[in-house]
């Protein structure tokens, strides 16, 4: 299952609809301090089923919704979509009939989050399983947040075992 595109709107500082093409090899992401680079990684974790606001640097989950600037009003919802290539037909059975898989998470102020896979409403658990089967997910050791590279070394041995479980 290959990651192809990330689409976001109203997610943290990405208020306008934005699309990031994810291609083979090494894609560099650059820009000044505070411009939104780490927010992109958080959008990927979030759409894959992240349930802890703290690991997205927020207090509550609604902190991911665009809070407004001095010249723009805040938004009421936030949408992130991951577009995956499924030509290899390796998705779980109920989603395996099409070439592409579109995973969307949407949160609305006061109403909580909802997930959709190829247009069908699904539970958070379904999304988490879809990505776990593909050796990834919101807590994948392959997603290293800023300042966290040293945390693997500082972690307790019991906590590090979780990395092995990902590899199994």
């Amino acid at each position: 299952m290959r990651f192809q595109r990330l689409r976001l709107a109203g997610f943290k500082s990405f208020v306008d609809a934005t699309e990031l093409r994810i291609e083979d090899g090494l894609t560099g992401v650059v820009g000044p301090n505070g411009c939104g680079k780490s927010n992109l990684l958080e959008a990927i974790r979030w759409v894959m089923g992240e349930s802890s606001p703290k690991s997205l640097r927020g207090g509550g989950m609604e902190d991911v919704i665009f809070a407004g600037t001095q010249s723009r009003p805040s938004r009421d919802f936030s949408d992130v979509t991951l577009l995956l290539d499924n030509e290899g037909r390796r998705a779980p059975a109920q989603f395996n009939d099409s070439d592409q898989i579109e995973v969307t998470r949407r949160i609305e102020r006061g109403l909580g989050s909802a997930y959709r896979i190829n247009g069908k409403d699904v539970r958070q658990k379904d999304v988490q399983l879809l990505f776990a089967d593909a050796a990834t997910g919101a807590h994948s050791p392959a997603l290293v947040s800023q300042g966290r590279i040293g945390a693997i070394i500082a972690a307790k041995p019991q906590e590090r075992r979780a990395m092995l479980e990902e590899a199994a």
Partner: protein, 162 residues
């Protein structure tokens, strides 16, 4: 459970040893399962010894040495069970120029050995120059992020602009 975990441990350990000596240009490192005979309950200990140094506790390693050791472990897990996507957010920040080059050499190798797609967030000009493509994130309007695809020359301008 137990058999799979043990098999994963062996595979990750083999990769980790080799990646460590590649990144450090020598030295030795390995993983150990400690605190319990049952792998499902055990903890994962990392033993690392940079070239010419004594084997010491991990906390005594320097900032850059810890980052490199962690990278060797992450990629060891990768090679055992490659993930479709990897995002590294400024992991090159504590590295000196020589280690940044070695880190990028390793990234090149990973793209040959796996199908993993990498997103590398960086401020480092050397790392930037080793990427296959670059995306810039700007806030032309304060507080509003925008994504632009940049070529290498523009990237250095983007870096300079606040």
């Amino acid at each position: 459970g137990r058999v799979r975990l043990l098999a994963a441990f062996e595979a990750v350990n083999t990769h980790f040893r080799e990646l460590f000596t590649t990144l450090f240009n020598g030295g030795a490192a390995h993983l150990e399962l400690i605190e319990s005979d049952d792998p499902l309950e055990a903890g994962l200990e990392i033993m690392a010894q940079p070239p010419g140094k004594k084997l010491q506790s991990l906390t005594l390693l320097s900032g850059g040495e810890q980052a490199l050791t962690a990278v060797a472990l992450i990629f060891g897990v990768f090679l055992t069970n490659p993930a479709p996507i990897c995002v590294l957010d400024e992991v090159d920040a504590p590295l000196d120029d020589a280690n940044v080059e070695r880190f990028c050499d390793l990234l090149d190798r990973m793209t040959e050995l796996t199908d993993t797609r990498f997103l590398i967030v960086t401020h480092n000009a050397v790392t930037m120059s080793r990427m296959h493509r670059l995306f810039g994130v700007t806030m032309a309007e304060q507080g509003v992020s925008q994504l632009v695809s940049v070529d290498l020359e523009r990237a250095s301008l983007l870096l300079a602009a606040a």
